[in-house]
C-alpha cells in the first residue's frame, strides 16, 4: 500500500507537475513537427510511452550492473570490482535507446503500416529525442531504484503523450483561425506551447 502510494505520486509528478515537455521543454522537435495531425500524435505518444517504459528500467539495470563504480563485482574477478565505467553512461544510454527504437520501428512496420507511414522520419528520430534520453538521465541523476525507474519511464512518456495529443487537437482547431502570415505554422505553435505550459503551471507547487 505504501509502495503503491509512492509510485502513484511519482507518476502524477512525472505526468502533470514536472511534465517533461511543458516544464522541461525536452523533446520539442518531434512535438512541434508531429503535432500537426491528431492520429500521428497519438501514435507517437504511445511509441514514446513504450520506448521510455522499456529504456529507462533497462538503462537502470545497465547502470547498476555494469557502469557504476564497483558494479562489476558480481563477475567475481577482483581487478574488475573497482572499475568505474560511469563515464560511458551517455553513450550506452543512447545505444540502448537506438536499439529500442529500431525494435519499435520494426513492430510498427509489421503491425500498423499506416501509422508507420504517417510518422515517417520522426519514428527513427525518436532515437535522438531529447525527452527519451532525458528520462534516462533523470533516472540516473535522481537515483531511482528499478521499480521507480519503470514507473517514471512510463509516466514521463505518458506526460509527453498527453501534451502532444492535446496540442494536436488545438492545432486542428487552429485550422479555422486567421493567424497572421508571419506566425503561421511553427510560430503560433511555439506561442501555444508557452500558453499550454502556463496552463500546466496550475500543478506547480504541489508537494507529493
Amino acid at each position: 500500500m505504501e509502495l503503491l502510494e509512492h509510485y502513484l505520486s511519482l507518476a502524477t509528478k512525472a505526468i502533470f507537475i514536472e511534465n517533461i515537455l511543458l516544464s522541461y521543454f525536452l523533446g520539442m522537435c518531434s512535438f512541434l513537427a508531429i503535432s500537426k495531425k491528431i492520429e500521428a500524435s497519438i501514435g507517437l505518444g504511445f511509441a514514446v510511452i513504450f520506448v521510455n517504459g522499456i529504456t529507462v528500467p533497462l538503462n537502470y539495470l545497465i547502470k547498476e550492473f555494469f557502469l557504476n563504480e564497483g558494479a562489476l563485482s558480481w563477475v567475481g574477478v577482483p581487478s574488475l570490482a573497482m572499475v568505474d565505467l560511469s563515464f560511458l553512461s551517455f553513450i550506452t544510454f543512447i545505444a540502448t535507446i537506438a536499439a529500442m527504437v529500431q525494435l519499435v520501428e520494426m513492430l510498427l512496420d509489421k503491425f500498423s503500416p499506416a501509422l508507420y507511414n504517417s510518422l515517417g522520419i520522426f519514428l527513427p528520430l525518436i532515437a535522438v529525442n531529447c525527452s527519451i534520453l532525458g528520462a534516462s538521465l533523470f533516472m540516473s541523476e535522481r537515483g531511482y531504484d528499478f521499480g521507480e525507474s519503470a514507473v517514471f519511464g512510463v509516466s514521463s512518456g505518458a506526460g509527453f503523450a498527453l501534451a502532444i495529443i492535446s496540442m494536436a487537437a488545438i492545432r486542428f482547431k487552429l485550422k479555422y483561425s486567421n493567424i497572421p502570415d508571419g506566425l503561421k505554422g511553427l510560430g503560433i505553435t511555439m506561442i501555444l506551447t508557452g500558453l499550454l505550459s502556463m496552463a500546466y503551471l496550475a500543478f506547480s507547487g504541489i508537494n507529493l
Partner: protein, 383 residues
C-alpha cells in the same frame, strides 16, 4: 439620432474605396455598427434568421455582469470602512474600480484597433466582454500599469494573434490574469492578502488553508460565515465576491440562452463530487490539510468559483463545442478547481487555473466526442 446618422453618412466616403482615410475603415465601421443596425444583408447560402448577433450576445453578457460589478464597487468601499454609509462606500469603491475599468478598455481597445487596421478585419464586440472581465478578476489593489500590461498580453497573445474574436484557444481574460499571476505573484493579491489603505486582510480561501492540522471551518470561524460569503461581504477580486450577484447574472444568461447550461451544470457537479471525494479521502487518511475538509457549499461561495463558473467557463469560443463535450469540460473544471485548492499549497485559488487548463483540453474533448459520434452513426447504418 438623425444628426448622428447624417454625420456618419457625410464622412463615409472618406473611409471607403480610395477615400482619404480608407486605412481606418474598421474605425468607421465600428462606430457605425455600434450606433446603428447595419444595412448589409447576407447574399447567398442558407442562414439562420434570428435577432441574436455577436453584438447582442456580447452586450447581454456585459449586462449579466452588471450586478457583480455594482456589488463589487460597493464591496471595495465596504471592506475599507464596514461602518460607512452605503453611498460613501459606493463612491470610494467607484474611485478605485473605475480607473481599472477605464485602463482595461482603453488599452484593450487600442490593441484591438491597431490589429483591425493593420490586418483589415472589423473591430469585434468581443472586447466589450473581455475588457469588463479583466477588471472584475483583478484585486482592487492592483497597480494600473499592471492592468495595462495584463490587458495587452491577454488581447495580443491571447486573442489577436489567433485572428481576433472567435478564433482564440484560451479565454483572453484568463490569459491576462494568469500572466499577471505568474509574472508578479506578490502583487496579484486577490487570493492572498487583500490590502486597501494599509489594512491587510486574508481572503477566506487563504484563511481556510492557513493552518495545518485543523479544520477549515474552524479556521474560518466567526470571521467569515456562509451567508456573508454568499452575499459577498468578503475581501477578494472586484467581481468575484458576491455569489448572489453572480447568480442573478447567471439567471439572465440562462434565460437568454447565452450561457450554456450544460457547462454550468457540469462544473457545479464536478465541484460537488470532487469536494465530497476529498472530504471522504481526508477523513480516511486522517490528513492534516484543512482544505480537504471544506464542504462543497463553501467551495461554491469562496474565491472565484462562482464567477468563473458563470462568466469564464461558459465562454463559447474557448469551451468545448459539442453537447457531451460540454459536460466533460465542465466536470473537468470543477474537478481541477477543487484539486488545486485542496492539494496545491501554492495557489489557494484554483478556479482561474482550472478553467485555463480545461481550455487547453477542450479541442481534444471535442475531437473524441466527435469520433464517438461518428462511430455510433456508422454502427447504426451498418445495422
Amino acid at each position: 439620432m438623425k444628426f448622428l446618422r447624417n454625420l456618419l453618412d457625410k464622412v463615409e466616403p472618406n473611409f471607403i474605396g480610395n477615400g482619404k482615410y480608407a486605412k481606418f475603415y474598421p474605425l468607421y465601421e465600428m462606430a457605425d455598427t455600434f450606433l446603428f443596425t447595419p444595412a448589409d444583408k447576407t447574399k447567398n447560402g442558407p442562414h439562420i434568421r434570428d435577432a441574436v448577433d455577436l453584438k447582442r450576445v456580447m452586450s447581454f453578457v456585459v449586462i449579466a455582469m452588471l450586478p457583480a460589478l455594482l456589488f463589487g464597487i460597493f464591496n471595495v468601499g465596504y471592506q475599507m470602512n464596514p461602518n460607512g454609509e452605503l453611498r460613501d462606500n459606493f463612491l470610494v469603491g467607484l474611485k478605485i474600480v473605475l480607473p481599472i475599468i477605464l485602463v482595461s478598455y482603453t488599452v484593450g481597445g487600442f490593441w484591438e484597433m491597431i490589429f483591425a487596421v493593420v490586418r483589415k478585419h472589423e473591430i469585434n464586440e468581443g472586447f466589450l466582454v473581455t475588457g469588463m472581465l479583466i477588471p472584475l478578476i483583478m484585486p482592487p489593489t492592483i497597480p494600473l500599469w499592471m492592468v495595462a500590461l495584463a490587458t495587452t498580453f491577454g488581447v495580443v497573445i491571447g486573442k489577436e494573434i489567433f485572428g481576433g474574436t472567435g478564433y482564440n484557444i484560451f479565454n483572453p481574460a484568463l490569459v491576462a490574469r494568469a500572466f499577471i499571476f505568474f509574472a508578479y505573484p506578490g502583487a496579484i493579491s486577490g487570493d492572498r492578502v487583500w490590502t486597501v489603505d494599509g489594512i491587510s486582510q486574508a481572503t477566506p480561501l487563504l484563511q481556510a488553508s492557513s493552518q495545518q492540522g485543523s479544520q477549515a471551518l474552524e479556521l474560518l470561524g466567526n470571521q467569515f460565515n456562509w451567508w456573508d460569503m454568499f452575499y459577498g461581504f468578503i475581501p477578494g477580486s472586484i467581481g468575484e465576491t458576491s455569489t448572489l450577484a453572480i447568480l442573478i447574472g447567471a439567471a439572465f444568461l440562462l434565460i437568454t440562452r447565452i450561457g450554456n447550461w450544460r457547462i454550468m451544470a457540469g462544473t457545479l457537479l464536478g465541484m460537488v463530487l470532487t469536494a465530497k471525494l476529498t472530504n471522504v479521502l481526508g477523513e480516511a487518511v486522517a490528513s492534516s490539510n484543512p482544505m480537504l475538509f471544506l464542504p462543497a457549499e463553501f467551495h461554491l461561495v469562496m474565491g472565484g468559483f462562482a464567477f468563473g463558473l458563470v462568466f469564464m467557463a461558459t465562454d463559447p469560443v474557448s469551451a468545448a463545442q459539442t453537447d457531451r463535450g460540454r459536460w466533460i469540460y465542465g466536470l473537468l473544471i470543477g474537478f481541477m478547481c477543487v484539486i488545486i485548492r485542496a492539494i496545491n499549497p501554492a495557489y489557494p485559488e484554483g478556479m482561474m487555473l482550472a478553467i485555463l487548463f480545461a481550455n487547453a483540453f477542450s479541442p481534444l474533448i471535442d475531437y473524441f466526442v466527435m469520433k464517438s459520434h461518428i462511430k455510433q452513426r456508422l454502427k447504426r447504418f451498418a445495422a
